[in-house]
Subunit: 316 residues, 2 copies
C-alpha cells in the first residue's frame, strides 16, 4: 500500500533567487515577458576627473560607466569569448587606475574607446543600456533576470493546477506551469499515469533529477526499519525536506501512484509566508531562527551509506 | 590534445561545515578518532523554578537540561523512530510550558522522567552527557561532529600526495586521503590509469558524482565554439568553479590523462587563506565582498540546455 503524502514545504532558501529556467528550444522565461526596446547613443565623452564615460541617449537620458569597469568588460575577441559569454581577459592584466585616450560614437551607434595602450573596446548600445548603473535600470534588470513576482499564501490558497500530459507535450503549458511554480511554490499536475517513472519524465522535460543519497527517485511508502520517518504510516510534522543537506532541493516532484484507503492526507505550508508572519509578530524569534545555527544529522543506508552532519539556520 | 589544468580553488563555502564522511562499511571519520568514555549518573532532580533537570555525574560534575527540551527529545518508541534516528513526536503535541511529575535514576544509571500526563521518558547517561549544555561540552561535540582541523596554505605548500590505486583498495589509505583533503583542501593522487572513467571510480569509492548541466563528468580540452573558457587553450584566471550554481561543488576531481606538450601548468590557490588575509589587510574590501551580492550567469548547451542566473556574495 502506498500512501500519498505531500507534507513538504515547497520553499527554497529564502536568501537566494532561483535561476531563470529555459525550456528546450525556447527563449528563457526571464526574457520572454520583457522584449527590449532599441536604444541609440547620441553622444559619448569621458569625465576624466570622475573616471567615467558618460553616454547621452537619443531619448535624452544619460548613463555613466566607470573607466575600469569598461576596460574589465571589454567585449573584443581578445578579452571575451563570445561562445561562452565569458571573459578571457586576465585580472592581472587590468590596470584598475586605467585612463582613456579617446571615446567616440561609431556610425552604427556603438561606443568605441581607445585605451592608453591603443587597445580598443567597442560597446553595443543595447549592451550598455542594459547595464546602466542608475537605480531604476538596475531594478529593471533584476526584475528581468529573476522573475521576482511571488505570491505568499495561507489556508485560503487554491492550489494552481495543470494537466500533466499537456505540460509534457505543449511548450506554452510547460511555461505556464513553471511560472506558476515560481510564483506560488506549488502546482498540482493532474492526469499522470499511475505507474512509476513519471517523475523522471517531468524532470527531463525541463532539466534533470538531482541525485541524493536517497537515490534519483524514491518510494514514499511504509517500510520495515524505515531509515526516514517519511517511510512510515504515521502522521508527519510539517517539515522542510533535506534540512541536513547543504544544498536542499529547490523543487520536489511527488507522484501519487496509489492513494491510501484511509488517511494519507497531505499538508503544505508556505514557509515564506510563515517566515514573514513570524518576523512581523515575533521579531526576536525570527532573529534567533535566522541567526543561530543548529546541528542537523542524517544517517543510514539507501542509495549509498550516508552520515551527513551539517550546521545551518532554521530559517535562511 | 588534452591539457591538464587545475586552476580551481578547492574551497567550499566558507560558512558551512562539510559533512562527516563514511566509507562503505567503516565507522564514520567523525567518531573514529574520539571514542567516548563511559559516564554514569549519581543523582538527578528537578529545579522547578528554573524548569531544569539537574544531573550529578559519578565524577562530581553537573549538567542541566530544560524540561521542554527533554520532553521534545523523548527517545521512547512513541516519540522517536530508532531506525531513522528521527523524532516522530508532533510539535503540536509538545507543551512548551510543560512541568515534571517525577525524576529518578534507574538501576542501570538512566534518568527516568514522568511527565504530568504520565508519559515516561528514559534517557541514557551517555546520550545525556554528550548533549550537556556547558560551553566546554558543546565545543567538544562540535569538534567531534565537524573535524575542524584546517590548514590554510600559501605558495610554500607541499601538496599532500596519495596513491590512487591504494586509496581505491585500502580503507586506511582512503581515510588518510579524506582527512588530508578535509584539512588542506587539495590532494594529489598519483598512479591513476591514463584512461577515462577514473574520476567515477574514485567518486564511487566514497559516494557518488553530482550531476550538473556539464554532465556527470566532462573533458577539459580545447573545443570549437567552447561554451566555457576552460575549454580553450588560453591561460585562465584563478577562479572558483561554478559560481553561478547555488550549490557549488564541495570537492572536484580532475584527472590528467594527457599532459600538454607545452603549457598546461596548473595553479591552485587557497581561498580560505586569501579571504583571511584580505580580512586582515583590507577589512572594508572583505566586508564588501562578503555582503554585496553580484549577478552570475551561465548559459549554453552541454548535458542539457542551461541558462542559470544567480546572485550571491563573492566571498561566502
Amino acid at each position: 500500500m502506498m500512501a500519498c503524502r505531500l507534507p513538504v514545504q515547497a520553499a527554497g532558501p529564502l536568501r537566494f533567487s532561483l535561476p531563470s529556467v529555459q525550456l528546450r528550444g525556447q527563449q528563457t522565461l526571464g526574457s520572454a515577458s520583457t522584449p527590449l526596446a532599441r536604444h541609440a547613443v547620441r553622444h559619448a565623452w569621458a569625465l576624466s576627473e570622475e573616471r567615467l564615460v558618460e553616454v547621452e541617449w537619443e531619448d535624452g537620458g544619460h548613463s555613466q560607466y566607470p573607466f575600469t569597469w569598461l576596460r574589465d568588460n571589454c567585449q573584443c575577441p581578445k578579452c571575451f569569448l563570445a561562445s561562452a559569454e565569458a571573459r578571457t581577459l586576465l585580472l592581472s592584466d587590468v590596470d584598475i587606475n586605467i585612463g582613456i585616450d579617446a571615446v567616440e560614437v561609431t556610425d552604427d551607434s556603438k561606443v568605441s574607446i581607445v585605451w592608453p595602450d591603443k587597445h580598443t573596446s567597442v560597446f553595443d548600445a543595447e549592451w550598455l543600456k542594459k547595464r546602466c548603473f542608475s537605480a531604476a535600470a538596475r531594478q529593471a534588470l533584476q526584475e528581468d533576470l529573476f522573475l521576482n513576482e511571488r505570491y505568499y499564501w495561507d489556508s485560503k490558497l487554491r492550489v494552481p493546477t495543470a494537466d500533466f500530459e499537456e505540460v509534457l507535450r505543449d511548450d506554452k503549458a510547460a511555461l505556464d506551469w513553471l511560472l506558476a511554480l515560481r510564483r506560488v511554490g506549488i502546482v498540482y499536475l493532474k492526469g499522470a499515469p499511475t505507474e512509476r517513472g513519471q517523475v523522471a519524465r517531468l524532470a527531463e522535460r525541463i532539466g534533470y533529477l538531482r541525485l541524493t543519497f536517497y537515490g534519483h527517485t524514491w518510494q514514499v511508502q511504509d517500510k520495515h526499519m524505515a531509515n526516514n520517518v517519511a517511510y512510515t504510516s504515521e502522521m508527519l510534522n510539517v517539515h522542510t525536506d533535506y534540512p541536513a543537506l547543504h544544498f536542499a532541493p529547490g523543487v520536489q516532484f511527488l507522484h501519487c501512484i496509489m492513494q491510501a484507503a484511509e488517511g494519507g492526507e497531505s499538508q503544505v505550508v508556505d514557509g515564506f509566508h510563515m517566515a514573514e508572519q513570524l518576523q512581523r509578530e515575533d521579531p526576536e524569534a525570527f532573529r534567533m531562527l535566522t541567526s543561530l545555527r543548529v546541528d542537523y544529522t542524517d544517517k543510514g543506508t539507501d542509495y549509498c551509506d550516508f552520515n551527513l552532519q551539517s550546521k545551518t539556520f532554521t530559517i535562511k
